[in-house]
Symmetry: C2
Subunit: 370 residues, 2 copies
């Protein structure tokens, strides 16, 4: 077999060039490959207050780094009075806090956009609620002594790769004031266990209320800087742009969203649901990073019913909602819609932008009642 | 908003009917939805002998059942002398065995087929190796006393739904002789922890050497039967068919496959790899359910190098392989190919069949060296 060449394209037509911007065309093999490696939370897991291990969504830009805790160090430096280099045990010896936090990918809902930005093609399930344990970032920043002229704190992970021609370690920043919020954690445990490799072992940032891109995984460096950070994932990606030349506004806090546990049972291929006629309790979870969720309505073919909200398990975690529907035989379209205390509701139509972030359009679940 | 109707199709063209058989057309939204909920193992996790929790592949036909262990029972019945009804503690009190087992979905590689059968569109990553703990099935079958005229044992799970018009609980059978193999487990733990909900909590079958469809999750019933089982997932699905009218041969044991840890680092969107010139150790894992893997070769642009094989962690688990490549600047196509002790090697071209099972065509990894 010395002459045999493997091309992965022995029979298929040659692959087409990727669209350069949002497309009206079909899904590409590149999007399928991303969808295969980045995990969604199957929607039936909305039944749990805390998402079981392995069901929380995962968005991993490059490869999962394989880090040995014994050799790992966290450097805290830049414009600080007392640079620190800490082992994992050093960090575990600091005061610890455990918080339930709902994280959601900024790109959640992207594949429902038309035209569709070509990137990780989430449907609606890029969410999860972990019980995160760590030490408050503010305490370590105080130990290091952030300089008065510092404007931002930059967080760098061990994950390395290329995006749009930029070769880089994944990095994001927060303003000093934001970084000092008491709920921001350097987390080393999730659901009572050391972080799994794919969730940032041995240490990650958790920024409650913000879309997931802020919660840098596999942390290696924290630096205070005196100029706003211009890294690719801060200044170029993760902006609400109307088109390629619009600098846009940065993506920050999670927009309100409600999702339902799909009722009844599914068809394997289409996921279309079948429900028994009669009283049917529809339940789900709702969250917003901007303000507490105050209201959820369940839509039945365009008629809206008030849902009952349970208390949230924490300030930054989703709330369970439920509503009884008298299901009558036939075809129905169910949806749910959250409103938060800032007055924002989910849009009924797509929330379109150039890179497909923050699309919190209401979920639509077609159901056959019989 | 009482009149507002949510359709999920406010701007998109109306969805097309799904192709009825294999298609030369683009990926469908239904395949994307399946790809979102069924998890692949990111290929960098080939670095681990035992796949960390949350990185093992998942194929879930219907919804993940939410089962409370306190109310759950396993019924062992049908043509047996002494029907049993067991609690989880009853099963945990039986002799326990812990085995590393590589499981792979029969549909792994489906999306690489042309024409493409429309179902879960795996690329190459539907695999994982768990450390499974349970009690041997054979012991419980002996306790129950399988009747002499029984021909098969049927395993039924709690997962319920529709496929191709069949409404059913997921169920599969094994011949009595196969079911009595000593390595077949009723497993209640994975990687030292109680099963996660998505892996079959509280109890699942593990059939080492077979594709994953045999390892029924969320077990509720085990029945000895005197006629071959004709359930949908036994008699209709999971067959190697040449076309819609060919009954085909049943899918059973895992065909040989080697995969590599993608070298260097990726581009986010294309996953194309960049590698530094010079000596580069390429590593991966190889497995076969038919016989031990005896040889792996690494392909570099059609030239094949012998890889070194490490011992397997168990009779039914993958083996690590590695090979040093002197990487020269330019574009290269890497591949790897396993051969097992039965003499079977992976094909260089697609292993096509009507429903896209058992496609163990060699992996192809394009790499830029610089």
């Amino acid at each position: 077999m010395s002459e045999a060449r493997v091309t992965d394209e022995t029979v298929k037509p040659a692959p087409k060039a990727l669209p350069r911007g949002p497309t009206e065309g079909p899904l590409t093999p590149e999007e399928l490959q991303l969808s295969a490696r980045n995990h969604s939370m199957p929607l039936e897991a909305l039944r749990y207050d805390i998402t079981p291990l392995g069901l929380h969504y995962l968005l991993i830009h490059f490869d999962i780094p394989m880090i040995e805790a014994a050799h790992w160090r966290l450097a805290i430096g830049g414009h600080v009075a007392r640079p620190l280099e800490l082992t994992l045990n050093d960090i575990r010896a600091r005061p610890s806090v455990t918080l339930p936090v709902t994280l959601e990918c900024a790109g959640n809902g992207r594949s429902r956009l038309f035209p569709r930005p070509v990137s990780q093609p989430w449907v609606t399930e890029a969410v999860g609620t972990g019980l995160w344990t760590g030490t408050p970032l503010a305490g370590l920043l105080a130990e290091a002594g952030v300089a008065e002229n510092a404007v931002e704190i930059v967080f760098t992970g061990a994950d390395h790769g290329l995006e749009k021609g930029h070769e880089l370690d994944y990095a994001r920043s927060l303003s000093v004031a934001e970084a000092e919020r008491p709920e921001i954690l350097l987390a080393y445990a999730m659901n009572g266990q050391p972080l799994l490799p794919q969730h940032g072992f041995p240490l990650r940032l958790i920024v409650p209320g913000w879309y997931g891109m802020a919660s840098v995984k596999w942390l290696t460096r924290i630096e205070a800087v005196t100029e706003p950070f211009k890294g690719y994932y801060q200044a170029s990606n993760y902006h609400y742009r109307s088109g390629p030349d619009d600098p846009g506004e940065p993506v920050r806090r999670i927009r309100p969203r409600a999702l339902m546990v799909p009722p009844g049972f599914p068809d394997f291929l289409t996921r279309k649901r079948t429900v028994a006629a009669g009283s049917c309790r529809i339940e789900g979870r709702a969250w917003s990073g901007q303000a507490p969720v105050e209201r959820v309505v369940l839509g039945i073919d365009g008629r809206w019913l008030e849902a009952v909200l349970d208390p949230a398990p924490g300030l930054f975690a989703w709330r369970r909602w439920s509503c009884v529907w008298e299901a009558e035989p036939g075809e129905h379209m169910l949806s749910c819609r959250a409103t938060d205390a800032s007055g924002q509701s989910q849009p009924l139509e797509q929330n379109w932008n150039w890179i497909g972030v923050g699309n919190n359009m209401v979920q639509a679940v077609p159901v056959t009642v019989r």
